[in-house]
């Protein structure tokens, strides 16, 4: 396959960026999207040009590092991570636009690499259960009903990639935050911190400059792990409940 790539190039956080055009040839349909970019970068290095910077690591869809907007869609045309997208989803002669996550809370570091540390700070605000090492009771002391355990797992699957934010017209982080709130709040182990968790995490989310939620639903459509939109509804309920309980 022969492709035309239009790639966002930006030297560093302070510099202006622009789209640059590259031609790549000899692309196999078995390649992953990132292997296609590897091919481009090998050519750029040999030409003495700066290769395109992008985040990636496990390349099996679980670490959450890769983060490209492809033809306007977070992670591209399929519901998966960028690393699991393959070139068979494109046709010979296609022109492909490649951009970084676009959100004011995710400033660009270089080219396609953005700073997602705001997500870490949201978790630090309350996305945990206080259980210091050594203090744990026997694992079977507290049975967890299977539906609750399954629901916790479904939300815990979030890989923290940020596609939800990139897809959202408001740049909101509601789906990310709600996934962690729901994972921990549904479990009996998470109950003691149920109220502070949701209040503190939502407050941190707002402080980080993420936008507000208008229930557009783009986040859940882009999520490679299928975190459902109803997750946001559940978090809103948790938040309302906590506000009432704390103010009493």
């Amino acid at each position: 396959m022969k492709l035309t790539l239009r790639v966002w190039r930006q030297k560093n956080a302070g510099a202006d960026g622009a789209m640059s055009t590259y031609e790549v040839d000899g692309i196999s349909s078995d390649m992953s999207f990132l292997e296609m970019l590897d091919t481009l970068n090998e050519e750029l290095i040999l030409k003495g040009e700066d290769p395109v910077a992008f985040d990636h690591d496990c390349r099996e869809g679980i670490c959450g590092a890769c983060s490209l907007v492809i033809n306007g869609d977070a992670h591209g045309p399929e519901r998966t991570t960028t690393c699991q997208l393959h070139m068979r989803s494109f046709r010979d002669g296609d022109t492909i636009d490649i951009e970084p996550w676009r959100a004011s809370a995710f400033p660009v570091i270089k080219d396609l690499v953005v700073d997602r540390s705001a997500f870490d700070r949201i978790i630090q605000a309350g996305g945990y259960i206080t259980a210091p090492t050594g203090a744990a009771p026997e694992a079977h002391a507290t049975p967890v009903p299977k539906p609750d355990a399954d629901s916790a797992f479904e939300h815990a699957e979030c890989i923290g990639c940020g596609a939800c934010v990139a897809a959202c017209p408001n740049g909101a982080a509601m789906l990310f935050t709600s996934a962690k709130v729901n994972h921990l709040n549904v479990l009996p182990q998470g109950a003691p911190e149920r109220e502070t968790r949701v209040l503190d995490m939502v407050a941190q989310m707002d402080d980080e400059g993420f936008g507000g939620c208008t229930l557009t639903g783009e986040c859940a459509t882009a999520c490679p792990k299928g975190i459902p939109l109803v997750s946001i509804t559940s978090m809103n309920r948790e938040w309302l409940r906590a506000t009432r309980k704390v103010s009493r």
Binding site: L46, E49, C63, A65, K110, D120, G127, Y128
Partner: protein, 652 residues
Amino acid sequence: MTASSEYVDYETGAPAVDGKAPSGPVNERWDTRRFEAKLVNPANRRKHTVIVVGTGLAGGSAGATLAEQGYHVVQFCYQDSPRRAHSIAAQGGINAAKNYRNDGDSIHRLFYDTVKGGDFRARESNVHRLAQISVEIIDQCVAQGVPFAREYGGLLDTRSFGGVQVSRTFYARGQTGQQLLLGAYQALSRQIAAGNIEMHARTEMLDLIVIDGRARGIVARDLITGRIDTYFADAVVLASGGYGNVFYLSTNAMNSNATAIWRAHRRGAHFANPCFTQIHPTCIPRTGDHQSKLTLMSESLRNDGRIWVPKAKGDQRPPNEIPEAERDYYLERIYPSFGNLVPRDIASRAAKNVCDEGRGVGPGGQGVYLDFADAIRRMGRKAVEAKYGNLFDMYQRITDEDPYEVPMRIYPAVHYTMGGLWVDYDLQTTVPGLFAIGEANFSDHGANRLGASALMQGLADGYFVLPATINDYLARNPHKGGITAEHPVVQEVVAETEDRLNLLLAVDGDRTPDSFHREVGELMWEFCGMARTDAGLRKALERIPQIREEFWRRIKVPGTGEEFNQSLEKANRVVDYLELAELMCLDALHRSESCGGHFREESQTPDGEAARKDDEFAYAAAWEFTGTGTAPVLHKEDLVFEYVHPTQRSYA
């Protein structure tokens, strides 16, 4: 003595001695050591700084626990967030001797299985401690909210794993590593928020600072700005993972690397059993030269899938057109009692053998079929879907083939490294004050790791072992402070680091870092992969210094060191692979026996199985660095088996 054991390009030094392992009954040793270890007064702990490199299961759990104890922790990861460490990709599960199934499991049985699985090349004391701690790990993780699979009654579910006769593997669908890592990451996050951990993401350790014989800090590069900084501490903990990426293609993450442990090795930490690498039998084969990494398919698939190749060489027919009589279900044929469930090392070697015979399938003949047609007939498609659905989807996404209709194609790939920095019972390396935990050390898996044991070891080391043993070192070596960036040793280490990076940028040759990585990786796969020979290893040992020489003549790294520069990061990691590869081959050459994942073709039984030589090689090989390209010194740690008596494994 075979010819190979006369190979002399190394010297033998004093034996390696584990001075911290207590004596007495094996089940009392951990208690004994914990009691004998000195403690640090809680009020004094905050005066001690501990550096932790890496945030995977071992590093994440260690950082969180040390901070909870009151130490000041300074922690590093090269990823943009500690949540992305490669432990996250572990699929299958975590072993624990809970005996919830009442199926005869016990701490002693897990201990026994692990020593035997490691083909009698691990320390009994360490493995027993691991088995003891396994039960506490599950409690700890459940308390943190790790959503393990549960049964309808609300209790934890377990499953069986490779070659074991009890059901002791706890799991969270096919994402156990992810869920355990997020548990550790969340505990870490809590301590970061509390101000007890100073977290440096996107920062890579490039060297170790050793002053007056003790580890006192590291040199690290901020990957965004390129700035090289020094960090000082009372102890340094390496939790930087394994070195499987020396093979270029492996199931490791793209950026997993050996730099932290190799730089520590160069500064005096002995490197043990570098040739012990695990080749996992069920990975998706490569599709072409563009391949950047390999993806594992969980070994649980071998419970219901049948492995076969055509009987005839070069049979190009599609699998569905090859009649039953013309298929060779070779594992079932050679190992009738274990069939498709033989251990990983055996299954991998058998696949290599049939492909070497010219009977491999798929592009390049580097693959064998893993066929579910019988399982679908027997259980129905629905049941197969429920059991393996997400793995089938993953396979289909990568290969564009439907495994419900066409047999999967699989091939072995480098997965885990049992070798690593030599550590004593306290997990301390030969450099006082430098500790190594998780896959970065060598201690618990011998020559072959059992499935679902890596997660167990990472968390045992990080949550329970290191936080107990490091106290002893810190209590006996009180904080002296006073080290600054002006210290002559520090300035020297920083200058060496800067010189290395500047040289990489200055060569301005005509080959990319990846091209060299690929070249050394292919060489290692061919000569130090699934089967090793004296002649092949010698060839690799001749070739590696030549590649190294060419590297420093022809490497091309664009850009500067004062910016985000992924090519520079990569090139610097390849520098270390080019030295580590040599030690791996030398270790493989000197160990002229077969054991676990290390198969020497000269050492096999009449029916082609691995033949261990316990008289000659019942030791861990700890190598001391003496210089690039000069003969290292071998220190042998004799392994004593008082409880599990070495036997030759048989699966026929």
